[in-house]
Assembly symmetry: C2
Homo-oligomer: 407 residues x 2
């Protein structure tokens, strides 16, 4: 179970410094041993913040705190622990967040409302925040702008590899950097160990604008991947802009096209890594839906395919069982024309006129199914809406990991 | 894979004759060998019909036929084959249905609009209806009111046991019989082998009233079970009333209370058997949701729990992982009060005030998880809506069956 996913990138990427951000990782022993489990990120004065959070109605105490703090739009510190999610911990959980925030604000020298927190791991167990608050003051001395690998490792739970990505972009001719880390071994990992993502840039972008960019980028990246269709109580994606880059002021989205594309590339890269570390995954699956009534309809159809246990087990079994894709399109609840539905796997067109293509030769599709990267294309024949969704296969590994996580 | 489910009933039930219905089963060799794969049911003149069908937008040709035929409200024949679902077979599939209907109408001596059909099995493969139409005339001679076991077997695909149930009821003091069969090894079995259910009664009930009774009954039975959340292209549930019983005429639901309860009992019994034959199932799970904003909201919450791969794998692993139930309630998208959420497993209350019950003792819950029948109760604390949903666990068996169905 600790073997690295066969779909993992070959190496941890070489991440650039983002001016105005420094990291410290620490082993405070909440659950794991011999690895860091606490991350502190310190950000320069003037850093703006944006965030998107789980829509779960049983969201964790840290998520509730972040949603409120985000109203201020400013960030100076981020504290993330792994090993305990501080979810479903009642009033005690709220008090833990308050003590953690207070300690981080004192250590960094900022207001509590500029501190963001997250917890990931087992749920329903009170968080021993004393270990966190005791560690924070000493971590200030170890802050480093280059500690990306340590930062990425500190937030891992059942992840089999640390996840990071970066891009550069130009704003008004000036080069800016976008870099981030994330964790997650499933749309939700066991016990809501969940998805967390933190992206940093040295660009100077007002908080409301930053929020719009992040929300749109998340929609096409983190909101377009699924491992098991389960939604965590703690899912968090944040973007911090330190404003250290020397580009002309921006007040609206004009001139941010290159930044937006680079941000989306970072978010997509990170989201793909989560799928590649999906619990038990042996195949990375891209599902491209076209011809839907709207982009939203296309994504719902894509997720219906990507979440179908029958589609996912067929992929695990390297079975070119396109009938299950037909089924998933049918159950999505979005407009589709059965007789104009075109399904292609690995670039090979399989259906037309409401039936299999005459003389359909399965051989090249079977060969494609044996690879690690699977492409499923579906045109539902009713409009111009399109979306791409990514998922992994459903294997015995998933059952092994999730049938015995706590025992 | 051919072993009988550990959750199967001990024996096939002893089903009563329903006056006005006779069955013939035949081996026509569409896919299976050494077992019947074709069912003909003949019903008395004056039989009324009701049906509920899949909501899939890629519904099969037989489903489309039945929906149309149902407008007439009369039934004289039912033809069901297993081994090929005649789904996603284009114009050829429609022609197959027409030839089958015509042959059955000729054999029984009725109008085509009084013939109902269904096909279950592999999809996307043209149906060799010649084998069916050739067999039908000869099957007339073998019709028998007592051939329930053969009828139940003829419609099986990956089912590991035949499924049937019956009850009696009184209408105006006169005893009537309700008996039926169904098949399905999952909400959808592999390749849309799907769920089919046929229930017969000797009561005399007008078609519109029969339809209302069936729709309501299906809602609390077949629409409240899930194995994998996938929806078939062929799901069909029909109720036929032969009118042979000598009770006073009924024109509305008054006086049908006992019938309605008995019908619901038959439907629920059949639906439970499908869950008990769920692919790879080792546990039968009842999920009772109370305190929801509405009955509909309660069912959506129940299905979110019952469809969650993380909940289902935890049950397979006999892990009392109640945190995953919290997660599933949160993701259901229905109103719930995290701080009033009460979760009980095996009758043991686990949560209150947004956290675990102080001093929660897991021992009795762990013991309950080791049994074959699991009870999860959830009160979401916002209203009076309630619903019960049934599901099974998600095991290696499911992956085995579905990763290699066609190969």
């Amino acid at each position: 179970m600790t073997a690295v996913s066969p779909l993992a990138p070959k190496a941890f990427p070489d991440l650039p410094v983002v001016a105005g951000v420094r990291f410290a990782a620490h082993e405070c022993g909440l659950r794991y041993r011999d690895r860091p489990d606490l991350l502190l990120a310190e950000m320069a004065l003037g850093t703006t913040a944006a965030g998107v959070f789980t829509r779960s109605l049983t969201a964790s105490a840290p998520v509730l705190w972040c949603r409120e703090a985000l109203a201020g739009g400013q960030a100076r510190a981020l504290v993330v622990n792994s090993g305990n999610s501080n979810a479903f911990t009642g009033a005690a959980g709220v008090a833990s967040v308050e003590r953690t925030v207070k300690a981080a604000a004192a250590a960094v020298g900022c207001a509590p409302g500029e501190v963001f927190v997250a917890s990931t791991g087992t749920i329903g167990v009170p968080l021993d925040d004393g270990k966190i608050t005791a560690a924070l003051p000493g971590m200030i001395a170890t802050l480093s702008a280059e500690a990306w690998p340590q930062a990425a490792r500190a937030i891992m739970t059942t992840d089999t590899f640390p996840k990071a990505a970066s891009r550069t972009a130009r704003i008004g001719g000036v080069r800016v950097t976008i870099a981030g880390i994330c964790k997650g071994s499933g749309m939700i990992a066991p016990d809501m160990a969940t998805m967390l993502g933190y992206v940093f840039t040295d660009a100077k972008i007002p908080a409301p604008l930053l929020q719009r960019l992040l929300a749109r980028g998340a929609d096409r990246s983190f909101n377009a991947v699924t491992v098991d269709g389960d939604t965590s109580t703690s899912d968090t994606l944040m973007l911090f802009a330190t404003g250290q880059a020397n580009h002309p002021p921006v007040t609206d989205e004009r001139g941010l096209g290159d930044f937006r594309r680079a941000l989306e590339a970072v978010l997509t890269d990170l989201a793909h890594q989560i799928v590649r570390d999906g619990e038990g995954a042996t195949k990375f699956v891209e599902i491209r839906v076209t011809g839907a009534a709207s982009a939203r309809a296309a994504r719902r159809i894509g997720l219906a395919i990507g979440n179908s246990p029958l589609v996912k087990t067929a992929i695990a079994g390297e079975d070119a069982n396109w009938g299950r894709v037909v089924m998933a399109v049918g159950k999505a609840g979005e407009k589709a024309d059965r007789d104009r539905l075109v399904i292609a796997i690995g670039g090979v067109r399989i259906t037309e006129n409401g039936a299999a293509v005459p003389g359909y030769d399965e051989a090249p599709v079977v060969a494609h199914m044996k690879g690690a990267d699977i492409l499923i294309e579906v045109d539902v024949g009713v409009g111009r809406g399109r979306a791409t969704v990514w998922t992994c296969d459903l294997t015995h590994g998933y059952i092994d990991i999730n049938g015995s996580y706590r025992t």
